[in-house]
Amino acid sequence: MLEVRSVAKRFGPVVALDRVSFQVRPGELVGFLGPNGAGKTTAMRAIMQLVALDEGVVTWNGAPVDDAARLRFGYMPAERGMYPRMAVRDHLTYYARLSGLDAAAAARAADGWLERLGLAERAGDTVQSLSSGNQQRVQLALALLGEPDLLVLDEPFSGLDPVAVDTLSEVLMEQVERGAAVLLSSHQLDLVADLCSAVVIVDRGRVVLRGEVDDLRAASPVRHLEVEFASPTAWSPDGMGPRPPARRHRLELPAGTAVEQLLGSARAAGEVVAHRYGPPDLSEVFRHAVGRPVEVAPAPSDAEAGRDVGSR
């Protein structure tokens, strides 16, 4: 199990990490969320022992991460990087060797991942001759070589097309089933909500929320009620003021609100086709946790006409 314990790091006047703590268990896929500049990349570098910490410690199975443990961590940094003029297969075998595999195992691992990621026929080509999407696959393969115990992936989905996103999702689920611990950062919150069992949300170097996705949603102090009318209808829910005519109305309510009463007023206003009531989706949980508008979430609360509501 990976444990990040009260880790702190400042760069001059900037506090990058302020006593950050969280855990990733084997067979668990944890989403690491936060607005840009929140400290995600620094935390991931700290796990990979690339940052000298001011305070705290990162442990693997109870002991501080040493070279032997780190050799079994796969890492995909935010800033992708490979030797541009090296052949793809050579690059993978070289890295596998540096990761402690012998020559035969390194060749097997490289070929296996090239096959799995659909790059087998590009094995002899130089890295720079690949499209950026394919380069990203090679970068992912570098992290996956040799069945690592822990995967630390910084924005693995950025820049991928939908097909590649599906492939990567599949691969990650396989790794989790195999028993690997996976930590990934992303701004694509629906994807994280689909894939990850747990999330850690950081903002300005602090952990602001962490836990199972469903628990966090259930524990949210807000609920959402969405009401769909047959035709655009004006509606004045109790104590919320009048709302302009729209087919769909979406309300943010404190948890524990009497929904039936609200629905009664809706039915009085017009023909209600459908309604949905439940906890907020992950992006809303995220928004609340961060406590200010961020680029990944829609503007808060207003029941905007025609705005689609996330599936969760």
Binding site: R45, M48, Q49, L50, A52, D67, A68, R70, L71, R72, F73, Y75, P77, E79, R80, G81, M82, Y83, P84, R85, M86, D90, Y94, Y95, R97, L98, S99, G100, L101, D102, A105, L142, G146, E147, D149
Partner: protein, 402 residues
């Protein structure tokens, strides 16, 4: 299967890094083309010299108008032998024929025995003239001795030249010019190779940082092992190129029939030792310079201080190399960054004592170790700092800070 991992020792990692460096470099088209061209040009020079010049200076063609039944021709050939010059005499009937033959370029000179005259086409060849004088002097002496009643055989006995041996009081062959030439050539060769291969290391490090590949490398290999592997790998690739060039040079010299003085060969091991020391020191510093920048465009600027020292050391060879016994020369030739260029010069001149060479080597090794320690500590901290160029001053602050 997932358990089949082994933590590599330091040398295992350095070996893998160096191996990649050698493979990628030797496989690169640019390396193959530049090495091929280098070898081709060097061999071509030898071929050109051979075709253009032929086998050394040709025989001296002498048109002889002789009144003495062949004695002059024999004397000319004999005098030529003593001067290491082959003489090819041709008998012509009279002076006008001799003039015409020289004028047409069929002979280099003409000797008119009765007029005691020597004719050249354009300018007087002093060596040829000297050979003719010797031949004539020998003939005159013979005539005089025979006139005093000696037998022909006794005359021949008296005239046969006994070999003379030349020695110097200092014991050597006294060729200061050659020593200076060897020392200068060694300095030039060392300067070019240190600069070229140092630049390879510089650009190689900048490539790793500018492409950000260094971040995935650093989670597998400590910075100091990356540094060592790169320096050793590029050094080996460079030596392969150097050995091919030197081999081509030997072929070329053989083709051109140039005999190489023994001093040049005996200087080679010394050049190699100083190359290794100089390369270890300078390439480490070049790697450090490369680690401070994130773009190839900034690499030269970051390396400028090191390049300045290297060029300075090179220029000092020409200031102090010709005064190898001076105190300034003695002091400078043991200082590590200067020693790889200055010491070979002084050694070639025979001016460096064993003590001085030993001291220079010890300081050199100490300098390399120090550079390694510094580079290892700074390297680790700056490799992940991408963006603007990090100043040497800021890099120095890392040493005090951490």
């Amino acid at each position: 299967m997932s358990g089949q991992r082994r933590v590599l020792g330091g040398w295992g990692q350095v070996g893998l890094v160096a191996g990649r460096e050698i493979r990628e470099r030797v496989r690169a088209r640019s390396f193959q083309v530049s090495t091929g061209l280098l070898v081709l040009v060097i061999v071509a020079l030898g071929v050109i010299v051979r075709v253009g010049v032929g086998d050394g200076p040709g025989a001296l063609r002498v048109a002889v108008v002789d009144a003495d039944g062949g004695a002059l021709e024999q004397a000319l050939v004999a005098a030529g032998e003593r001067s290491d010059r082959e003489v090819d005499p041709v008998i012509v009937p009279d002076g006008s024929t001799a003039r015409r033959v020289v004028d047409d370029g069929d002979a280099d000179l003409a000797v008119l025995a009765e007029d005691r005259q020597v004719l050249f086409a354009d300018e007087v060849d002093e060596q040829a003239l000297s050979i003719v004088r010797q031949a004539w002097a020998a003939l005159d002496l013979r005539d005089a001795l025979v006139g005093h009643g000696l037998e022909e055989s006794e005359v021949a006995e008296a005239l046969s030249a006994r070999p003379i041996e030349a020695t110097t009081l200092s014991g050597g062959d006294g060729d200061d010019g050659l020593a200076i030439l060897v020392g200068t050539l060694a300095a030039i060769l060392l300067f070019i190779t240190l600069q070229t291969f140092g630049t390879y290391v510089l650009t190689g490090v900048v490539e790793e940082k500018s492409t950000a590949v260094v971040e995935v490398l650093l989670v597998r290999v400590p910075a100091r092992h990356l540094l060592a592997g790169k320096v050793i790998g590029i050094g080996v690739a460079a030596l392969i190129q150097l050995v091919l060039a030197v081999t081509a040079g030997m072929v070329s010299l053989a083709l051109a029939s140039v005999s190489v003085p023994g001093e040049v060969w005996s200087a080679l091991p010394m050049v190699l030792v100083w190359f290794l020391g100089g390369y270890a020191l300078y390439s480490t510093l070049f790697a450090l310079a490369g680690s401070l920048v994130s773009r190839q465009e900034d690499a030269q600027a970051a390396a400028a201080p090191i390049m300045t020292v290297l060029i300075g050391a090179y220029l000092l060879v020409f200031f102090f190399g010709y005064a190898p016994e001076s105190t300034a020369s003695r002091v400078m030739s043991v200082i590590p960054p200067l020693a790889p260029l200055l010491m070979p010069m002084r050694m070639a001149a025979g001016a460096a004592s064993v003590l001085e060479v030993g001291l220079a080597l010890v300081l050199m090794v100490a300098g390399v170790v120090l550079a390694w320690q510094l580079a290892g500590r700074i390297y680790n901290q700056v490799l992940l700092q991408r963006g603007t160029r990090i100043s040497w001053r800021a890099a120095g602050a890392f040493l005090r800070g951490d």
